[in-house]
Amino acid sequence: MIPNKGSEASLIKKITSSIMIFILCFFMLFALTGCLGAREINDLEIVIGMGVDKDEDTGNILLTAQVVKKDTAGRTSGDASGGGDGKAFWNVSSTGDSIFDAVRQVTHKTGNRLFISHNQAVIFGNDIAQEGLQEYIDFFLRAHEMRPTALILVAEDRASDILDAKPETEKFPAMNIAKLVDTYGFTSHFYEVNMKDFASCLMSPTTAPLVPLVSIVQEKDCMDIYVSGMVAFKKGKMIGKLNHDEVRGLLWVLGKVKSGVLIVPSPDEQGKAVLEIVRVKSKVTPEIKDGSIVMHIKIKEESSLSEQTTAENLATDKAFEKIQEATAEVIRQEIMAAIDKSRELNADIFGFGEMLHKKYSSKWKTLKDNWDEIYPTIELDIDVETKIIKTDLLKKPVSQSEEEK
């Protein structure tokens, strides 16, 4: 432990090794940073959104990347939305034979390669979606910079138009879209689908993936981004659209409804009772009975009375009962709408196939092969149970009381 004369060699050894390490370190510091993939943060072209379209002329891929403009991005949005050049983003586009090719082609314009780790959303143009996403999705899953949480969307028309919209509150359209989709819970009229979910559905032999559909609404002088529903895919190709109610019908079954508004006629038929969905639980049990498939869907819903447009006091047991029944009916109708749609498209958007697979794995092998024929014949047994659990701030409506009448 105590250094003695014998350890003089180790002393010298230690000195030399430390000197060597020191020299090597500093030598390497400046020699290696260049080749080790160091990239200064201000040299990055930070991509926050991407759009994939089909080039009309050549049939190649037209990639639009929304790149952050660093010199203006930090300023307040007031400045940014001021003039035409005050935009905080730059939509740079390029064409290529494949997406990766196009991503690399962009460097001709940006001078640096795109940095797509912060990509919030990938928007596919309508034409691409109809052609099939299978061959375009690969890059977004494979690229190491892409995150599996990036959202996937389909544009009503062209993806580049959506990225060009100028939102009022957010600086970047891509961020705005991400925010719109992320907060679907207020209405449950659509839901967010990220890369991993989409890939998961694509890998399933039966389940048809859904992707939110975004479009642009022209209002006076500003263009707003609007999520108008979802599109269903089958075998990677877009086959049809689902409107808001149909999507919610689907979400009821999947138990993914977070919140939303339900409008039912009031018991006296004079006005409407408006309910906010508070909590939803659902359970789907598949059953194969005598060769026919029955899906037992059990939904438990709790809501609060958030608004009423009638003078009648709805906060009574009797009224509640009637409203609950009516609500159940509304929910059932929404579910049926979704089911009708899916039957019409013959796309298993509910994932009934997977459910059967998990429960009847031995019989599944025979079912799988002719699922397309079997799917429309599936019978449904919907059981909805609803509850009104609160009436918010009012106990009674603002009206003259019964006695005074």
Partner: protein, 73 residues
């Protein structure tokens, strides 16, 4: 290449003087043998001479000659 030489010079500086001082010739021999192998392999790697992979040979032995293999897929 220059890094390679530096690293290997470093290995010698760290190990050899002590070995000689303590007169551990057996250790020195073992060290030299392994050092020579390591240096040769590194040199081959740096000069892009293909280094034989023992696993390839093993695979050949087991799969192609002995015929033991798990079905793929």
């Amino acid at each position: 290449m220059i890094y390679l030489l530096l690293i290997y010079a470093f290995i010698i500086i760290i190990n050899v003087p002590g070995l000689i001082k303590r007169k551990e010739w057996r250790e020195l021999t073992a060290f030299s043998i392994l050092y020579a192998i390591a240096f040769a392999l590194s040199l081959m790697y740096v000069l892009d001479i293909p280094v034989p992979s023992p696993m390839k040979g093993l695979k050949h032995l087991i799969v192609d000659i002995l015929g033991i293999e798990y079905p793929q897929g």
